[in-house]
């Protein structure tokens, strides 16, 4: 064929690698892919769910209820102040003044309520994002399309942020109305929204990140809540306290110095919100904290989010490759030697194993490393089997690196505290109370995946066709979850013991100083004076007796909620809400009601005593802090700050009665769970 008449075509120039990368960075190249089809699908699916409407309704009602209660309380208190010796002041100015006094309190209430609730909701929304896709087998399909890992992550994140923004904006009319009456600076409202939004963003991203590896969304949710709490509140607070105590500035007038601010500012939105709120108060201790300190905090959270986003995108791709069998193989797998029957044996020689049969896939090896199973060695399953399995499960699934980092932070933090404040009873009690919080938080989640997890894993039907009765199954699940909390109990008990024996420990630690240069010497427990044990022998038994029954109830209610739903996240959220309602909202509601009516004692005492925080702190306060004032058994005076004047025997009596109530409630929850399981076995 002749080339005559053919249109000359310029030879195609292949773009260099650099050009291709630069082209990818052009806004036109990626703007069109944001937010992308995943975002659209997620928004469509979130809006279609009935649970979304319930969430909005419940959130709005909770917010409104809390605001109404606060308003009523403050209003009536202010009303009381309008009575003068000359009569009732009813001028417009007085009314406006009254509203102005109410405004900051309402604003702070809204700020904290939405901050805490949205941090929780963010984890709940983010936790199922990837784990549900993996379980449903749809993630592989998604990643076989041109959609990239970062688009999936971003689509999931943005859709959830849209929902969280809608929830956040529910409070906007209230805050704007309050702003109209004055009394609240504009920057504070801006700070509240910015800090809440960024916390929700980081929380959602964290939950999505955790859900990539997690098969159960409930597990991802509880881990996200714990990590978020530790990352955004716990660790910064610990660092803050250690720094302040180390520099001897704790309690100093004028608050912390500027250098502490700049270490602390980027770390914690919770603490930032607290400090921003404090600035508004006329007698604020932290007056040198400017009203714009929250801005760097917002940017640091943005940086944290971006880091998490990048890691999530990379991790999603690697997990998918691993799931699809494309994981990296470090070395070729050797085929085992064929099994040959001994000479003269009547047995038929076994067929040689194929490499495929005997070799373990890279994915399986990874799973084995993550589990407790040692290669070629199965464990002996104990009786009863379900209880055995529950006990074998880990409280929190962490890889060796994560475990190491968490343990290091914990040990260093506690050591630092002991170093700084070995003699401070208040610190000992605070650490124990943080432990109480940790135990209760984990108790709320530990059993929430018990039955729902079996449903999610599609193993429940098989269990229910066995002779194991529903009641047995529920009981074993409950007990397994309860016992799985032992590491947390151990940490708190070890802490109490260590505190009690802090003097001899310090003496031992001081020996370390002999081997290091003088400038680096720590001088462990420099303020210690040996006065014997620092707490009573009753501390640990009473602490355990106070906390174990409510923990048992929470474990039992977790099992019950997990029979109600197929989603482990929902069960965890329900159980957390039960704990919040019983031990935070109910006392707050009653406290407010009491302050309005002026009627106090019997009811509030009745509600507050069973509160696990009160119940476990009372023995700690009396047996540790007030230990010095006790010289005989008759000197004990257990009670709340106001002191109820309970003797040691009376305190035990209270513990037994309250414990019996909680255990009764636990039994009732277990019965309900068993009945529910029987009724809906195959549903």
């Amino acid at each position: 064929m002749s080339d005559a008449g053919a249109i000359p075509v310029a030879p195609l120039r292949e773009a260099t690698w650099l050009r291709r990368q630069v082209a990818k960075l052009r806004p036109r190249a990626w703007m069109g892919r944001v937010p992308g089809p995943v975002f659209q699908k997620e928004v469509w699916s979130i809006n279609k769910r009935l649970s979304t409407s319930w969430l909005r309704l419940a959130y709005g009602a909770t917010l409104l209820g809390i605001v109404a209660l606060t308003f009523i309380t403050i209003y009536f208190e202010a009303q009381g102040s309008r009575y003068t010796p000359y009569g009732y002041r009813s001028s417009t100015a007085a009314t406006l003044q009254q509203y102005q006094s109410v405004a900051p309190v309402i604003t702070v209430t809204i700020a904290w309520t939405q901050f805490v609730l949205l941090a929780l909701v963010a984890c709940a929304l983010g936790a199922p994002a990837i784990s549900d896709e993996r379980r449903g087998g749809t993630l592989g399909t998604l990643l076989s399309t041109p959609v990239t890992a970062w688009q999936i992550i971003l689509g999931k994140l943005l859709s959830r942020m849209l929902e969280l923004t809608i929830l956040m904006l529910l409070s906007a009319p209230l805050l704007l109305a309050i702003r109209a009456f004055g009394g609240v600076p504009g920057w504070y409202i801006l700070a509240v929204y910015a800090l809440t939004f960024m916390t929700a963003l980081v929380g959602t991203q964290l939950a999505i990140f955790l859900s990539i590896k997690s098969k159960r969304s409930g597990g991802a949710f509880m881990t996200a809540v714990t990590v978020q709490g530790a990352l955004l509140v716990g660790i910064p607070l610990l660092v803050f306290v250690v720094l302040m105590m180390a520099t001897g500035l704790m309690g100093a007038a004028g608050g912390p110095p500027a250098w502490v601010q700049w270490i602390f500012v980027p770390s914690s939105p919770g603490v930032m919100l607290f400090l921003s709120t404090e600035v508004m108060a006329p007698d604020a201790p932290f007056t040198n904290w400017g009203s714009r300190t929250w801005i760097p905090c917002v940017f640091s959270l943005l940086g944290l989010w971006f880091l998490l986003f990048m890691i999530s995108s990379l991790r999603l791709r690697s997990v998918m490759m691993s799931d699809a069998g494309g994981g990296r193989v470090s070395k070729p797998v050797k085929a085992p030697k064929p099994v040959v029957a001994p000479k003269g044996s009547a047995a038929t020689p076994a067929a040689p194993l194929t490499t495929q049969d005997a070799a373990e896939s890279p994915q399986s090896k990874t799973k084995r490393r993550a589990s407790r199973v040692r290669e070629g060695l199965s464990r002996v399953v104990g009786d009863p089997a379900v209880l055995w399995r529950e006990r074998e499960l880990r409280l929190m699934k962490m890889g060796p690196w994560t475990r190491g980092i968490a343990a290091t932070i914990l040990v260093l933090g506690v050591l630092a505290l002991y170093w700084i404040a070995m003699m401070h009873q208040a610190v000992a009690i605070t650490v124990a109370m943080v432990g109480v919080f940790g135990i209760l938080l984990n108790a709320a989640g530990v059993n929430a995946s018990s039955i729902a997890g079996e449903r999610e894993g599609r193993t429940l039907d098989v269990l229910l066709t066995s002779p194991l009765s529903s009641a047995d199954l529920v009981r074993q699940k409950f007990l397994g979850g309860f016992l799985r909390l032992w590491p947390l109990w151990a940490i708190v008990v070890v802490h109490l013991l260590a505190f009690n024996f802090s003097y001899p420990i310090a003496l031992v630690l001081r020996q370390i100083d002999l081997f290091i240069p003088a400038t680096w010497q720590v001088n462990w427990g420099r303020d210690l004076n040996w006065t014997g044990a620092y707490s009573s022998i009753w501390t640990i038994p009473m602490f355990v007796a106070a906390l174990a029954p409510p923990v048992a109830m929470l474990c039992a209610s977790g099992v019950f909620f997990s029979t109600l739903t197929r989603k482990t996240t929902r069960a965890s959220v329900f159980n957390l809400l039960l704990a919040l309602a019983l031990w935070v909202a109910a006392p707050a509601f009653l406290g407010i009601t009491m302050s309005i009516t002026g009627e106090i004692d019997p009811l509030i005492v009745g509600v507050l005593w069973p509160n696990p925080f009160v119940l476990s702190s009372a023995p700690l306060v009396e047996l540790i802090q007030d230990r010095g004032s006790v010289t005989s058994m008759l000197d004990y005076d257990f009670g709340m700050p106001e002191s109820s004047g309970l003797s040691l025997f009376q305190m035990w009596f209270v513990l037994i009665i309250v414990g019996a109530l909680y255990l009764g409630a636990a039994a009732a929850f277990l019965r309900l769970a068993a009945a529910r399981l029987r009724k809906n076995a195959g549903a």
Binding site: R372, S378, L460
Partner: protein, 325 residues
């Protein structure tokens, strides 16, 4: 205790189950004798899994009764559970257990004495050809191996009756053949099996009886031979013959009218492009010689002559379209 030793292993009487407006099971009455491998066939959503769940005490029927080995599922569920092994269509696995631990777990649930567990597990693993995977993590097994593990699990307590919901779903051809052999072996061991599957050819090869269900109604229950006979009767034919003509032979369309005029031929469908004739013989005993003569007399040259057997698929299609109703 109302034990009836002579009672059939599986029996249902007028089972009805509704989910809202949907009737999943409509007056299902069924009886399966000892040692039978009962193939349960039906389109998706026909009610197979619901039937199995009721018989496994996972669901309660709205009306009717079901019994396994003479024990009512409503009044003696514990007795029923001890005698059955249920394998759902999707094997949920505990991702942190090995094969051995997984089987130990269920051995413990079925209260098998600890000293006997290892031996029993060894036996069921050998039967299911999973011995080499004894210490492998369950989650790391291939789909086929997981299905076999599912069978191993239901055998641990040596039940009399097995309910297997789609045991071969998602398996490759080799794994399917192995699964089929395994189920036949279990049938030979005297166990009663109720097996649901969409792969009808497999059920045809291993089942001793079948049940066809559609929209909750049992359309047929009985032997496979009876099902074939009914299918043929419904189609009003006794046999189908496929004839392939040689190249250069006269077209099939010219032979077909001549064949169709014979009273013994129910229908003759020609395909000139493929040079084939598909002939349905009418009911009754007929030889094939008259066909050969008629074709050769018409000038046709025969390359192939194949009687086509009635397949379970045909029976299923005929029965589920209500041809027998």
């Amino acid at each position: 205790m109302s034990t009836i030793t002579t009672a059939p292993p599986i029996q249902t009487r007028g089972l009805t189950k509704r989910y809202g407006a949907l009737t999943a099971l409509d007056n299902l009455t069924l009886e399966i004798g000892p040692g039978q491998i009962f193939g349960f066939i039906g389109p998706n959503g026909a009610g197979k899994t619901t039937t199995m769940k009721i018989l496994s005490c996972l669901l309660e029927p709205d009306s009717g009764a079901a019994s396994v080995c003479g024990f009512s599922t409503a009044t003696h569920p514990d007795e029923v559970r001890r005698r059955i092994g249920y394998m759902p269509d999707f094997l949920g696995v505990y991702d942190d257990l090995t094969v051995d631990e997984y089987l130990q777990f269920f051995a413990s649930i079925y209260s098998i004495p600890r000293k006997n567990r290892s031996t029993i597990i060894g036996q069921v693993l050998e039967l299911t050809d999973l011995t080499v995977k004894r210490d492998a993590l369950v989650d790391g097994l291939s789909r086929g191996m997981q299905q076999r593990l599912g069978v191993a699990r239901v055998l641990v307590h040596d039940p009399q009756v097995l309910f297997l919901d789609e045991p071969a779903s998602g398996l490759d051809p080799r794994a399917r053949i192995e699964m089929r052999s395994l189920l036949v072996e279990l049938g030979k061991m005297g166990k009663t099996l109720m097996v649901s599957s969409h792969i009808l050819s497999e059920l045809a090869e291993m089942s001793t009886s079948i049940g066809i269900i559609e929209r909750g109604k049992l359309l047929y229950a009985g032997s496979i031979e009876d099902a074939y006979a009914k299918t043929k009767a419904a189609a009003n034919i006794s046999e189908r013959i496929n004839i392939k003509l040689e190249e250069g032979s006269i077209p099939a369309s010219m032979i077909a009218p001549r064949l169709a005029s014979d009273a013994r031929v129910a229908s003759a469908k020609p395909d000139d492009a493929q040079r084939t004739l598909s002939i349905d013989l009418a009911q009754g005993e007929h030889g094939h010689h008259f066909l050969l003569e008629a074709i050769m007399n018409s000038g046709g040259r025969i390359a192939g002559f194949t009687p086509e057997p009635i397949r379970l698929e045909d029976a299923f299609l005929k029965l589920t379209t209500g041809a027998l109703q």
